[in-house]
Symmetry: C2
Subunit: 560 residues, 2 copies
């Protein structure tokens, strides 16, 4: 019986040398474990998504050289891995040569290597071009579903290989066709990014395909953070009845080995379906950890700095950073103004103590006063408004950036999805930073994550006072979020309907929300597009995050 | 002989009501001029590009209602215009319903209306999905090239309609097929964005298609600014020998009318080919004016505020804003620190006086001192570096944003393409603003534009001292750009090769540049991707601008 390994690895985009070394290391590890076939994820040589690096001919060439190097390491083992194949035909027949077009035709591809021979190449047939995906920008779809013979002697097996989307499309897809061609095993290589609940969706899907086609399926998914995306792994092998027989951990690099006759297993998160919602909170928490850790690590940072307001958003961000990077790599800074309550500073300090991170207090009153004097002539006959609030937020942003510039810390901004959606945040102020750790987390989920964490630790690491206080930007005396916004229990479902479900104003009002509230929320979402387009990248945890997955015009008069 | 009008109009994205009113107004105007057929640009009902508004079912529905309304206004005239057609078939057969996918199948389409009847619909066959274009994200390509009969009685004419890219693709394309089907006139409706030199390329292309197919072609292009894009119009009618017989102005809304037997004309910019480079500078200048004017106007602003450093970039930006919006809508602010030379303030003041704009001086020394004191404990054992420089730049950004918040001005940032490329700019500092007016203009072109403007005005509106001084960020005493960067005459061609031509490090060195300089420039370009992704949108004037047309990972170890 053939022994299969899924190499659920964490490559880095553009690091062709590093990724190649990792692939070769895993090939050796697999061979040492008596594995016959080791499978790597989609585009593992380049990392995913390589984006416009694919338009550089030298990059494609480097990827090809890496494949040749890996080939020479496949003595006595079969390897399937993702790479960029090309043909010399022009990609688009536009009459004028535009540098924006790849010079050659590229294919998102899988190579089957065996005993230092290239057995065959399968091109991806279905190219996702929605949400965060732009594969039709770079690739041509394949035209032929193939089946390969693996091993002439001891383990002869007919193999069909397909790539991510190929197994998601409904109807008579690549899997069905490959089985018709005689495939006895289907291998799907993927780079499928996380959102809450998606790994269960994937498991259902693969199981269903295996069952319907009466064929075992080995599914390998990438793991790791790449800018706004987190790849969550959870690769798995399913037998020809659709039963899961091996599975990789979520969010961790690992090598999963199994034979196709192994006994079915039950994944822990499926044990009790009723707990699914709690499982999703845990999953989001872990996705954010990996997203933060990999962004920091892969970009060469060690320490992060976070502004601690004493509120729940900065508390959660700090908790995540501490869990991701270790307490010694996190610096919390309270920056009180004349408006800041002493309880805010105390809460921030207590949180920092509980986490064991470095804590600084840098009062900003002097700078506030300096701006007031500098602008006194211009602002002579005006009354204080959001301008003065923004100045405070911007001074805080500047202080964090100064610490970043001086000491090489990465600034994590702390805004959540709800406030980013309605623009309840200051551009160049609290929006400053290299990574917006929780900018895809709705406020109501922020609370759940905070409570999950305290429960996990069995202690009030995030002080209770932070969790129960009324949300406030604390930029003017007595300010509350509800002065400007509906309560988050109302706001978040409206935002979900508008942003994730693309519902119209009318449809949302029909759901039972107040018409005026809905109109105002939608107006705010649309009119703050310019802020979001200057926001740091955030880690995607929902099916529809702000960022490359949602492409809205700034200049836009549609408001329904 | 049929009388044709090209309605080269300026719609606003999302403003379906406003665009519909404009279309109806132009239909009336055309009818009053005795026109038989009036042609509007691609997606004129929605504006272009509508981006993810297309994922909203209510938006598609509103566009359909607008078409019905326009239909009722076509008594005694034929109208061709762009709209979004749809069929109820699902767009993608992905097995799980993902909200990112349009619920219905959409087509980028042209409708032919005549005398209150819908004569026919042509779907776009070739969907651009490169550079700034994402049409495969939203649309399915058409499957049939059609030919329509226009007019039963007085002007019977067989008509082929195609849409932008359809006429660019090489080989046996839609135009060729429609001519085979008997088309006696080809109409191409476009939304083709500007870059320097492109309008001549288009003219050549259409002329060549007309000549090769022995068919007259009426080409209508959108005009107007939409976020980073400028549509430059210059619609034209070509006879069956490929001669231009009517042409619309560049960058202006207009109605162009002609019969197909009109005499050939020579466009002014083709009169002397040797002057092409100068023509391109003029063209860039006018594109920037339209881009600024439309961004300001369509987003509901009246006034802009600009930080005046006394340098060439802010001078050019201020000139452009003044020409675009009028002197009374431009506020210039000098923000001297202890380092600022008196000549810088004088130069800024002189420029403001020459332009007749409001000029303010807001010294930032107090704020600089406040930050110094606030950070003195943290920075105790450190030496001044880029941190202190950035603080000054950020204070200036904050002051401009405070004026914006208080008085409703839009901040125009002033950075050029060369410095944005290598990150020679301060995030949240001089990069602050709603629109980066010249962020696609290389520094060497900034000088040419400044000289073009002074020549145009026959006066030294931009003081000579601003043009000849050595470029400096003036953030530390005696600083010059050349302390950190190669001279712009060296930097700009390297950037062009790397960014616009996707050349490798090796290839650029082979062009004759110093290997160390090339390596450093490339390193800087790649390592400042995070800054560019937080930059305000800029107006595209080259084939490859930063922004949606160049999609690079931030986390990226490829550096060749």
């Amino acid at each position: 019986m053939i022994r299969i390994a899924l190499a659920q690895v964490n490559p880095t985009v553009g690091d062709i040398d590093g990724n190649t070394a990792k692939i070769i290391e895993y090939i050796k590890k697999a061979r040492d474990s008596g594995v016959d076939l080791v499978v790597f994820p989609e585009l593992v040589i380049t990392g995913y998504p390589p984006k416009d690096l694919l338009l550089k001919p030298s990059f494609i060439e480097a990827n090809r050289r890496a494949l040749a190097q890996i080939l020479s390491e496949t003595a006595d083992i079969a390897v399937i891995l993702g790479f960029v194949d090309h043909s010399d035909a022009p990609f688009v027949s536009n009459i004028y040569d535009i540098s924006a077009l790849p010079k050659k035709t590229l294919y998102n591809s899988a190579a089957l290597l065996h005993d230092r021979k290239l057995i065959g190449i399968q091109h991806k047939m279905h190219l996702p071009n929605y949400d965060v995906f732009d594969e039709k920008r770079y690739f041509k779809p394949g035209t032929e579903n193939r089946v390969f013979n693996l091993g002439k002697s001891k383990h002869n097996l007919k193999l069909g290989i397909n790539i991510r989307e190929d197994i998601w499309v409904d109807g008579h897809g690549p899997t069905e066709k490959q089985v018709e061609l005689g495939a006895e095993l289907i291998v799907n290589i993927s780079a499928s990014p996380f959102y809450a609940g998606k790994s269960r969706l994937r498991r259902e899907l693969i199981a269903m395909r295996a069952r319907a086609n009466k064929v075992p399926i080995a599914y390998v998914n990438l793991v790791g953070g790449q800018d706004e995306l987190v790849f969550d792994g959870r690769s798995g092998i399913f037998n020809d009845k659709g039963a899961l027989i091996a599975e990789g951990e979520q969010f961790k690099e690992c090598l999963i080995t199994s034979t196709l006759d192994s006994a079915p297993i039950t994944p822990p998160d499926e044990a009790d379906r009723a707990e699914m919602r709690e499982t999703e909170i845990e999953e989001i928490f872990n996705a954010l950890l990996l997203g933060i850790r990999d962004y920091v690590r892969k970009n060469g940072f060690r320490k992060v700095v976070i502004g601690l307001s004493g509120g729940i958003d900065s508390a959660l961000t700090t908790v995540l950073a501490t869990e991701a990077l270790g307490a010694h790599n996190v610096v919390g800074v309270a920056m009180p103004s004349a408006i800041t309550s002493s309880s805010s500073i105390e809460d921030a300090k207590r949180l920092a103590e509980n986490l064991g991170i470095e804590f600084k207090v840098i009062p900003i009153i002097e700078a506030v006063n300096a701006y007031t004097r500098m602008l006194s002539k211009e602002f002579k006959d005006t009354t204080p408004d959001v301008t003065e609030e923004n100045i405070q937020a911007r001074i805080r942003g500047n202080v964090l950036m100064a610490l970043s510039n001086k000491f090489g810390y990465l600034v994590l901004s702390t805004g959540n999805k709800s406030e980013l959606a309605v623009g309840y945040c200051t551009l160049y102020g609290d929006m400053s930073g290299g990574l917006a750790a929780i900018s895809d987390v709705p406020k109501t989920t922020v609370y759940k994550l905070a409570e999950y964490y305290n429960t996990l630790k069995g202690a009030e690491v995030i002080p209770h006072s932070i969790i129960v206080k009324a949300p406030s930007a604390e930029l003017r005396a007595g300010q509350k979020d509800t002065d400007s916004l509906p309560p988050y229990e109302v706001l978040d479902p409206i935002l979900h309907a508008y942003i994730e479900e693309n519902k119209s104003k009318e449809e949302i009002i029909e759901m039972g929300f107040d018409a005026e509230v809905v109109s105002e929320v939608i107006w705010k979402v649309d009119h703050n597009e310019y802020k979001r387009q200057q926001a740091p990248i955030g880690i995607k945890i929902t099916p529809k995050a702000f960022g490359t997955g949602r492409r809205m015009p700034i200049t836009n008069r549609y408001n329904e």
